[in-house]
Symmetry: C2
Subunit: 330 residues, 2 copies
Amino acid sequence: MPTTIKDIARQLRVSPSTVSRALNNKPGISKKTVSAVNMIAQKLNYKPNSVAVSLRQHRSNCIGVVVPKISNHFFSEAIGGIQEIAAKSGYQILISQTRDGVEEEVNAINALNSGRVDGILLSIGAEVKNLSHIKALSNELPVVLFDRVTTKFDISCVVAEDYDGAYRLTKYLIKSGRKRIVHLAGPRNLEIIDARYRGYRNALSKHKIATRNRLVVECDFDVQKVDQAVRDLVVEGIEFDAIFASNDDMAVQAILTLEQLGIKIPENVAVAGFGNYAVSNIVKPKLTTINHQPRKMGMLAAKTLIKEINCDRNTSQLKVSSELVIREST
Amino acid sequence: MPTTIKDIARQLRVSPSTVSRALNNKPGISKKTVSAVNMIAQKLNYKPNSVAVSLRQHRSNCIGVVVPKISNHFFSEAIGGIQEIAAKSGYQILISQTRDGVEEEVNAINALNSGRVDGILLSIGAEVKNLSHIKALSNELPVVLFDRVTTKFDISCVVAEDYDGAYRLTKYLIKSGRKRIVHLAGPRNLEIIDARYRGYRNALSKHKIATRNRLVVECDFDVQKVDQAVRDLVVEGIEFDAIFASNDDMAVQAILTLEQLGIKIPENVAVAGFGNYAVSNIVKPKLTTINHQPRKMGMLAAKTLIKEINCDRNTSQLKVSSELVIREST
DNA sequence: ATGAAAGCGCTAACAG
DNA sequence: CTGTTAGCGCTTTCAT
């Protein structure tokens, strides 16, 4: 049995309240008592029971993090940033993954929303369409969405410059002479994916380039679909001179497939992604992309949540800047 | 204020214990009461307070995970596996990262070892030499080490076939005609890294190849050191026809550096890594490596810990098989 | 400067 | 089948 505050009190023949006060540097305890308490606490290897503290204080000093997939490059980086900020502010982080599923997201949220955490960071799963569970959650607990967010109701969000990034990237492709730009899109119901798509479309129309439906292929985030999509385009003889994929993983797959088909990058087809994942600098040719700054997004989201937990009850919509990173693939 | 069991009891004019029993499907409650309780619970949006439950039951249904770096490919995959098993068994996971530091590891452990978790999964930081905090921890709580383990005292561990994998890989390099094999080592005080080094050495000596100290370079996990090490070897005119790096990130860096130096892979120098990270299949030439199975290791570690939490107090040393994956770089 | 008492929300032994 | 009581470990009034 671990040592409790009572054990210390008994040994010193003082009351538990005195021990508690001494341990927590509360005013009104004599120096002598304080040091005696600390002595015994050390000797008995006392560790405060944080569960009891949480119950008493209505505050767990934990934050929940719910993401589709922990091992995804973007999320693991973001979680790293979240953890760093959390630790600095005295919070632990509780992590769940949803594999993009609705039921799993609901379950993860319910498991956390039970006094276990003081707030939740959430990135919405790709298959989630009905957002009522998120709205309900945000009425009970501080919630900050990051990356996979919604603007359908008022809730704090941290996003990248998805629209602007995609616009800038597409513009750059156009300026470098590309006219038939394929877009390999992610799941359209995710707002950030739609934003990237709109950035692409608007850049085209601003530069008087007709948008062709055949050049836009929805591949979810599935690299197999990317492979197939690229092959289909080539087999069907659709002309294209660039590919802009909704994320780097998809772009890398496009590069691998094009290479297998003997198509030269960037001579015949330029390829660009979104994210600036580690692979983008390793694949050959190195990938032009948008720097997504996952770590920074995670940190900002964590800071925002912690601020809200500590009683700032205003929602905030924040954007992390995203720069164009030009490499060999374009 | 969230609904409590008392609120439900009051509305139904029954006692809190009855409500508790009804909610938890304990025997001896009439169907009628059970359904009435569930009705009201739903109506009042009741959520059990898991902090109170934990306090009462001396059991948090949480497990702690401490790793050097969450965003590291190996660890993020492992954590994904851990989370999956944990969720299936009704556990939440609390994650900390240590950035390989001693103080941070001690702090992370202390923060978790306070009734917050029922057990801990730990991967030892690279700078940690004195293991007393781990030994102490394992006397208070079930602990399972994974990957970065110690065999200095009796504690449960899950590792890959580090020695065997390195041995097999080196043997394969020798069989394919390589004689002067450089080893880019990680931090030697990590047992798994030492095991890989021993596998390399023993394969050489079994095949009557002299081991040369100059061919073994300790690079920690630092890709910059790898870059420098490879350049130094070349500048100094040291002859070598293969490089075996202690992990894939290092091997990838070796490939990039060799390429910059105009050295052909695998014609002039073969390169092999350890880990089978995602990049190993994307870098060009594709990397020969050892499949480390991080996800599987995480899952196995989690299963082992959960078993120990549920009263199996025997330690177990487990190995996850590691196969040689031959690709273009050798 | 310290103690006594109450209570956070829940469960479980005991009693009926 | 249900209620009463006690208590998990801690903090926090309210006394003294």
